[in-house]
């Protein structure tokens, strides 16, 4: 493991009493959880449980109705994500994300996609374009470094041979990997992945697991939404289960796997067990 992540497993992301209302619908209801630094935290739940809504609140695409989302960076600075503007969540707080329906710049090449991700670093190096236009060497070295960084991630994501092809030309699995590489090129401390294994075949799923572990071991914490239980159980250190906008379980993969409430949510239960579980649910939430 990289330095810094081993000292203490402090929380990098703290979500407290998060609620999100769409008109009359309570999509998220008083949801709290923590993601630890240097860990892979998985957010799971049945369809429509509100996972993506939580994600959109964390990454600034929605403004939560209530609640606090605190991100603490390695240097000790803390940010309240719900107060930042959408692009500042990546630029200032170091949170980057991928999307459930892949959002690449399909008309740009794979390499260009990774260079766009390094926009803020390059902007500064180019003196907000002015110095870069004059052709100062500082920008040239920065541009070279940016390409090297892109090359590093392209190699990790096994895309190096496709670097000069348009991103829209890649296969589905490769597009998923490229989106992760692009998110990593912004140099985040927390990477949020929205269903990274959706639509991948078992082999691609395996390589994805290795890629995610490499990212974690490099010092970036991960938060992921996933349906594919084989991915979740194998790689996550911590699992949070969401149903109808409420947390029903929180713990290690093994703990969650054996939690009757989780089993009930995913598989349904025998008739005689319903009452017992409903009681439990009521205790937990009311």
């Amino acid at each position: 493991m990289a330095t810094g992540t081993t000292m203490t497993k402090d929380a990098i992301l703290k979500v407290e009493h998060l609620s999100m209302k769409f008109g009359g619908l309570m999509a998220i209801n008083d949801f709290s959880f923590e993601a630890k630094r240097g860990e892979i935290t998985a957010l799971i739940g049945p369809n429509g449980a509100g996972k993506t809504t939580v994600f959109n609140c964390i990454t600034g695409f929605y403004k939560p109705t209530m609640g606090m989302i605190t991100l603490s960076r390695e240097n000790g600075k803390e940010f309240l994500l719900e107060r930042l503007r959408d692009f500042e969540i990546n630029k200032v707080a170091g949170v980057s994300r991928t999307f459930q329906n892949i959002r690449l710049f399909s008309g740009l090449t794979v390499l260009e996609n990774l260079l766009v991700a390094q926009h803020n670093v390059l902007m500064k190096a180019s003196g907000f374009t002015v110095l870069g236009l004059l052709g100062l060497p500082a920008y040239k070295t920065a541009a070279k470094e940016a390409i090297e960084k892109a090359r590093y991630w392209l190699e990790l994501a096994d895309l190096i041979d496709r670097a000069d092809d348009p991103a829209g030309d890649l296969s589905y699995g490769a597009q998923r990997r490229l989106e992760i590489a692009r998110a990593m090129c912004t140099g985040p401390e927390l990477l949020c992945l929205d269903e990274p294994a959706a639509g991948l075949n078992p082999k691609e799923s395996l390589t994805l697991n290795t890629l995610l572990r490499t990212i974690r071991d490099g010092g970036t914490s991960l938060l992921l939404i996933e349906h594919d239980m084989s991915v979740v159980m194998e790689i996550s250190d911590h699992v949070v289960v969401l149903e109808y906008g409420q947390k029903i379980s929180d713990g290690t993969p093994d703990h969650v796997k054996n939690d009757p409430k989780v089993i009930a949510a995913y598989l349904g239960v025998e008739d005689d067990e319903v009452e017992a579980i409903e009681e439990k649910l009521d205790e937990g939430t009311v």
Binding site: K91, S96, F105, G107, L108, V116, F128, D164, D165
Partner: protein, 462 residues
């Protein structure tokens, strides 16, 4: 197959005749009232009508014979050629480019540098005036405007229907500041650009929150507002009368092109007095301005800001997730485009010597946008070709005297220029839906620079 070749052949001919007759009938029905009958005022100012069966017959015959030839001969011929090519297994796409193709830009540049002298050698001093001014300068102004708009529409994907507003700001900046304060062209040229860019930012702030169709409509409205202000603010702009007697550009302050001036350029160089030298000078000025626009655009595309513009065109939400401030990115695109519009505007004012709101109507915006779309959004070469075709084509229509022999002595080709403009656009869009140059040059590469096919790039929606 059950058919023999002969059967096929006769069947084809029958089909061609049938389709030809059908096309003739449709043409007859369509043109009967438009072309076949003409109304005019006679000597007593009464509206009377007469028939033009001959002209109608020409129209119908063109439609029928054209259709017959297309179905009967051209299409089978093309199909056979395609089939033969597919059978031979040689791909139509070959990597080898002809010499002309490879060095197209250099050849074009050399030609442009020689163009005024060539025109003077071929057509004489007075005869070349038309070629340098109407064709050369006119086309280059549109090239520059289209390249400026290309930054906004082609790179950043923001549909701007009011681009002519910045052209107007540039032109009036030069006209007013030079008339009221006597500043020179070379001082006011950058100033006009900066003022137009400034206007771009002011207009951009409220407008750029909108996306897609809404943005297009609001930019259209802003374009009209500027024009209406120019018409109605008569104290400053003299309204529809316009501002005349705008100072000419000087040769960098060393020589003047005013006839009466002591340091007259023609006198200083011992040239005969003719306005063609001024026009030639202006030609090189606008050529230099165009080259600066192209250079800046090419450089900007390789800067982070240029990449962010293109990323914005591809996917705005992904941009935000990568920490790109989309508002300032859009504003810089808008302002940069506006600045080049301003440069072109001040040049226009200096060349024309007269500006009025008439020059800045919506049609101008539409023509500039049409050039950008026809050329292939984002491609400088394509846009330059489109400007030559579109602007040069309409200028050429004035020269089409021979059309009078076909359509009669009353036919004035200039009046049909918008019709032909539209027709040309439809034809180009049918065969080249992504414009003349649909591919995109990547701004960085690891191993080799491969052009990105137009089918991957997006048009942008905000």
């Amino acid at each position: 197959m059950a058919y023999t070749t002969e059967n096929n052949q006769s069947g084809l001919m029958a089909k061609a005749v049938k389709e030809g007759v059908l096309a003739g009938l449709i043409a007859f029905g369509m043109f009967l009232l438009f072309v076949g009958i003409e109304t005019y005022q006679d000597i007593n100012n009464q509206l009377v009508w007469r028939t033009r069966w001959g002209l109608l017959a020409v129209f119908v015959a063109i439609a029928a014979i054209g259709r017959f030839l297309t179905v009967g001969f051209i299409k089978p011929h093309l199909d056979a050629r395609k089939l033969a090519k597919a059978k031979s297994g040689v791909l139509e796409i070959s990597d080898k480019k002809s010499f002309f193709h490879k060095h197209f830009l250099k050849i074009a540049l050399v030609f442009l540098l020689c163009y005024p002298f060539l025109a003077m050698m071929i057509f004489g001093r007075q005869g070349s005036l038309k070629y340098v001014d109407n064709f050369g300068i006119q086309i280059l102004i549109y090239v520059m405007l289209a390249w400026g708009l290309n930054i906004v529409v082609g790179l950043a994907g923001l549909l701007d229907l009011g681009y002519v507003a910045f052209y107007a700001v540039g032109a009036y900046s030069y006209a007013l500041l030079s008339a009221n304060f006597g500043f020179s062209f070379w001082l006011l040229l950058p100033m006009a650009g900066i003022l137009a860019g400034f206007w771009g930012i002011i207009l951009g702030f409220p407008v750029l929150r909108l996306r897609g169709d809404y943005l297009a409509i609001v930019t259209l409205a802003f374009g009209e507002i500027i024009r209406l202000v120019l018409i109605n603010w008569t104290d400053v702009t003299r309204g529809t009368f316009g501002i005349s007697g705008i100072a000419k550009a000087s040769f960098f302050g060393i020589w003047s092109f005013d006839v009466g001036a002591a340091n007259n350029f023609n006198k200083a160089w011992g040239l005969p007095s003719s306005s063609v030298y001024y026009k030639m000078f202006l030609f090189y000025v606008i050529l230099a301005l165009c080259l600066i626009t192209a250079y800046v655009t090419i450089r900007l595309r390789r800067m982070p800001i240029g990449r962010a513009w293109e990323a914005l065109r591809e996917d705005e939400i992904a941009c935000r997730s990568l920490g790109i401030n989309t508002v300032t990115t859009k504003l810089t695109a808008f302002a940069t485009g506006a600045m080049f519009g301003g440069f072109a505007g001040s040049f226009f004012a200096a060349r024309q010597g007269f500006v009025s709101p008439e020059s800045f109507v919506f049609l101008e915006s539409a023509v500039i946008l049409a050039i950008v779309v026809l050329g292939g959004m984002g491609s400088l070469t394509g846009i330059a070709i489109a400007a030559v075709v579109m602007v040069g084509g309409t200028e050429l229509l004035r020269e089409m005297e021979f059309l009078k022999h076909i359509f009669g002595p009353d036919f004035t080709p200039e009046l049909y220029r918008m019709l032909l403009f539209g027709l040309a656009m439809i034809i180009v869009m049918l065969f080249k839906p992504r414009g003349f140059v649909g591919t995109r040059e990547p701004t960085a590469f690891l191993k080799e620079r491969k052009a990105v096919s137009g089918s991957f790039t997006k048009e942008g929606h905000g």
